[in-house]
């Protein structure tokens, strides 16, 4: 698989618990990568030989980091899937193109009268920071407000007879704070449009702290604010992520806290890594 040199470097340098031992024939020693990442202060690589070597190899596991957030719409990060790598998951189907674009669809929303897509592009990269921008669109077709599999779920949206278009535009980063900790802050401007709703843009901010525990495992703490100066709700939660061979599994619990009430719910996703 061909990779853009810069992306390969980024993939290496953002691999705190590489799986290279399980990848036969990996030319780059895992030790060397770990050296580059150990310690609380990251050391930028300046060695040309290392750069060249890194640029020629495929990352050990492009799925060491999630390519999106578990909480829909508002949570994101700076990672993208590499070229021609895909995640076929219950919550997201993602596909990387050329290392510069990631296309995505939320399949469960798609079958629940909410056609949607996301397009994510890298904006900036260095040794500590990945920055990406994402544009999405969710079309809430008439009846999407109650298109749950079970009637034990209710939405606060009301659109039995009209369409609502929701378009989130977000900028998200992944910041390496330490070898065991990354932060994924994101800011989003959510546009809402429709004939029977007030067309408006709502700002929101979300941050996720990812604790990298052992190999293949992450614990994540999530927090977000929707509405900002025109406060709508806070979102808090915690989740766990496993990436093991071809499997990515995530499970978490989240609260939405509005001035009037609160909702709690689990979020679970499973995906095949291709």
């Amino acid at each position: 698989m061909m990779l853009m040199p810069s992306l390969a470097l980024v993939a290496l340098t953002f691999t705190p618990t590489p799986n290279s031992e399980s990848t036969p024939g990996a030319p780059l020693q895992p030790k060397a990568i770990e050296l580059a990442w150990q310690g609380d202060e990251a050391t930028p690589h300046t060695d040309v030989a290392v750069r060249t070597e890194a640029a020629e190899v495929e990352p050990d596991n492009p799925f060491d980091h999630a390519a999106n957030g578990i909480y829909p719409l508002w949570e994101n990060n700076g990672h993208l899937l590499p070229h021609r790598r895909a995640l076929i998951g219950s919550s997201n189907v993602l596909f990387g193109i050329g290392g510069v674009v990631q296309l995505g669809v939320a399949p469960t929303s798609l079958v629940m009268r909410t056609p949607n897509f996301q397009l994510k592009v890298p904006l900036y990269r260095d040794d500590r920071v990945l920055l990406a921008g994402q544009l999405g669109t969710y079309v809430l077709m008439p009846g999407a407000d109650s298109a749950f599999a079970s009637s034990r779920y209710t939405s606060r949206i009301y659109n039995p007879d009209h369409t609502i278009v929701v378009a989130p535009l977000s900028v998200a980063a992944t910041i390496k704070v330490a070898s065991w900790l990354q932060l994924h802050p994101s800011v989003t401007a959510l546009g809402v449009f429709g004939s029977k709703v007030r067309s408006e843009v709502t700002p929101g901010a979300f941050v996720t702290a990812e604790l990298l525990a052992l190999e293949n495992h992450s614990l994540l703490l999530h927090g977000g604010e929707i509405g900002m100066w025109d406060h709508d709700q806070y979102i808090f939660g915690a989740s766990y992520r496993l990436n093991w061979q071809w499997l990515e599994a995530r499970a978490g619990y989240f609260y939405r806290i509005s001035p009037d009430g609160m909702q709690g719910q689990p979020l679970v996703s499973a995906g095949l890594l291709l």
């Binding site: 909480y71 829909p72 719409l73 508002w74 219950s90 919550s91 939320a106 469960t108 929303s109 629940m112 909410t114 969710y138 809430l140 999407a144 407000d145 298109a147 749950f148 599999a149 079970s150 009637s151 034990r152 779920y153 209710t154 939405s155 606060r156 949206i157 009301y158 609502i164 929701v166 959510l190 809402v192 029977k196 709703v197 007030r198 408006e200 709502t202 929707i226 509405g227 709508d232 709700q233 979102i235 499997l247 599994a249 989240f254 939405r256 509005s258 001035p259 009037d260 009430g261 609160m262 909702q263 709690g264 719910q265 689990p266 979020l267 679970v268 996703s269 499973a270 095949l272």
Partner: protein
């Protein structure tokens, strides 16, 4: 992929379906265009809330008292149907599609079998309804914009009732704030007060009602932009009379004791011969229904009423030819102690009841005087007023309509109202755990379990409302249900009352 992993993957996929969409939709701030819905009517169905409970709270808590004395709130007695049990009662109140029986478990004469028998009926409560499967909720749930908050919500309602109640209120108000920007009516169903009454204490129900009261007030304070008019209504009451384990009746044994063979189908009964009936045990409630052939119904009712655990049994009656020589009226018999207490007639064309002489009305706490006459005639409304605050509210209408296919498709031929504190055991818990859900009961004809409540800021109320007529008084609720694509049953034609002329103010201490 290994089959086991494939299966796990599919399960996770399935379970994740609603969660993702639930998270997505409920974190999108969507606002209606300005100017709409200056007034929003909110109808909260509170399962099992008694008039007496609310009266106690009003007496105890000044902030609640103020709402009813010079405030905007009005209060009325709600008279539940008989049997005063949730599924049938909500169906009666909301005129929703008739259920098979009074509860999940029912006898289906078209298949000659008991549907959802025993634990299956119980488990059905907990299984989340999923579109396109056989698991679904009763139709009346469709009337409510909100009734649950997750696949296992019903399980948590029984397992951790207080937390579930808090969760319900949180979800309800979370939804209401945004929903009200689009719809002038919002409806919700809160089941936990009933569960508390069955499993815990009256004090807990009262405290929970106060919590709800404060949440409503707080919500209204936070949203001055709209005029929210709340209406709270229940489907029955709770008597808060606990039953000890030996007072939980296994009715099969009672039937055998009076010479009736309990069977599971008419076919089995006919092959058996003699006196037989299909008992529908239902859940842990203070009533029970029996299905049998019409020719056996009166004898079955007579015999089971002889059990010391039974207060009253109801069956169709033999026409009194002295009053009804042309057999035009519907006749109903009330049984107690193995004998007929009264057989009364009902003329649907005039909406009048015929109460014959020779009956023991005192035993029914009905103050009628038939002395010197062969019978007396009361119109429906007069009997409603006469019996409302007696031991058996609206006795004649409730007894009569309990045997009709109103609210239920397959009514029983005999209905039993237990003599409290006796009650039907309903289900047996393993490991000597039968003491649960024995703190309070409802279902029978007695007042304590029958008088629910209607509280509203929307309009003036009569002192009492028959369950069949709630929608007449709150047409916005009926319109909302129709917008939710519900078919509204016509109901029982003789159930209407003229609420403008009902005056029981001297009898009722508001």
């Amino acid at each position: 992929m290994q089959p086991r992993l494939a299966l796990a993957f599919c399960l996770v996929l399935l379970s994740a379906c609603d969660w993702d969409q639930f998270a997505l939709l409920n974190s999108i701030p969507v606002h209606g265009k300005s100017g709409g819905n200056k007034t929003v009517r909110v109808y909260l169905g509170l399962d099992g809330l008694s008039y007496a409970t609310v009266s106690d709270v009003i007496a105890m808590r000044p902030e609640v008292y103020q709402g009813f004395s010079g405030g905007d709130w009005r209060r009325a007695h709600f008279v539940a149907m008989f049997p005063a049990t949730s599924d049938a009662s909500w169906s009666r109140i909301l005129h929703s599609e008739r259920m098979g029986g009074y509860e999940y478990e029912f006898y289906d004469p078209t298949q000659d079998t008991i549907v959802n028998k025993g634990y299956l009926g119980l488990v059905n409560h907990g299984i989340p309804p999923v579109e396109g499967t056989t698991f679904h909720t009763p139709t009346y749930y469709t009337a409510f914009d909100y009734y649950a908050n997750g696949y296992l919500d019903t399980v948590w309602t029984y397992q951790t009732t207080e937390l579930s109640f808090a969760d319900s209120l949180d979800s309800l108000f979370f939804l209401l704030a945004q929903k009200s920007e689009f719809e002038p009516v919002f409806t919700a169903y809160i089941p936990e007060l009933d569960v508390m009454g069955h499993m815990q204490t009256r004090e807990m129900v009262e405290e929970s009602f106060i919590v709800l009261w404060h949440r409503i007030a707080e919500f209204k304070r936070k949203h001055p932009e709209r005029n929210f008019l709340f209406t709270l209504f229940s489907d029955h009451a709770l008597d808060f009379l606990p039953a000890s384990e030996d007072q939980l009746v296994r009715f099969d044994d009672v039937m055998r004791g009076v010479g009736i063979t309990p069977v599971e189908s008419f076919d089995a009964g006919r092959r058996q011969g003699g006196m037989w009936a299909v008992p529908i045990i239902h859940t842990r409630v203070s009533y029970l229904s029996l299905h049998t052939e019409a020719a056996l119904a009166q004898s079955v009712a007579e015999r089971v009423s002889g059990s010391p655990t039974v207060d009253l049994a109801v069956s169709l009656g033999t026409p009194n030819l002295a009053i009804d020589p042309n057999r035009r009226y519907a006749w109903t018999t009330l049984w107690r102690g193995g004998r007929e207490l009264v057989t009364f007639g009902y003329d649907a064309t005039t909406d009048r009841y015929f109460l014959p002489s020779g009956a023991d009305y005192t035993a029914l706490d009905v103050p009628v005087d038939v002395s010197g006459a062969e019978f007396v005639v009361y119109d429906d409304q007069a009997l409603f007023e006469l019996t409302l605050l007696r031991n058996y509210p609206d006795l004649f209408h409730r007894a009569r309509t309990s045997l009709l296919s109103v609210s239920v498709r397959y009514p029983g031929q005999v209905l039993v109202s237990f003599k409290r504190p006796y009650a039907s055991i309903g289900f047996e818990m393993p490991g000597n755990a039968n003491a649960i859900a024995s703190s309070g009961f409802h279902g029978g004809l007695e007042q304590l379990g029958s008088l629910g409540v209607v509280l509203t800021e929307e309009r003036d109320l009569p002192v009492a409302i028959r369950s069949d007529n709630v929608l007449e008084l709150f047409p916005a609720l009926a319109e909302h249900m129709e917008r939710r694509h519900m078919y509204l049953e016509a109901g029982e034609p003789g159930s209407s009352l003229n609420y403008d002329t009902i005056d029981l103010s001297e009898m009722i201490d508001q």
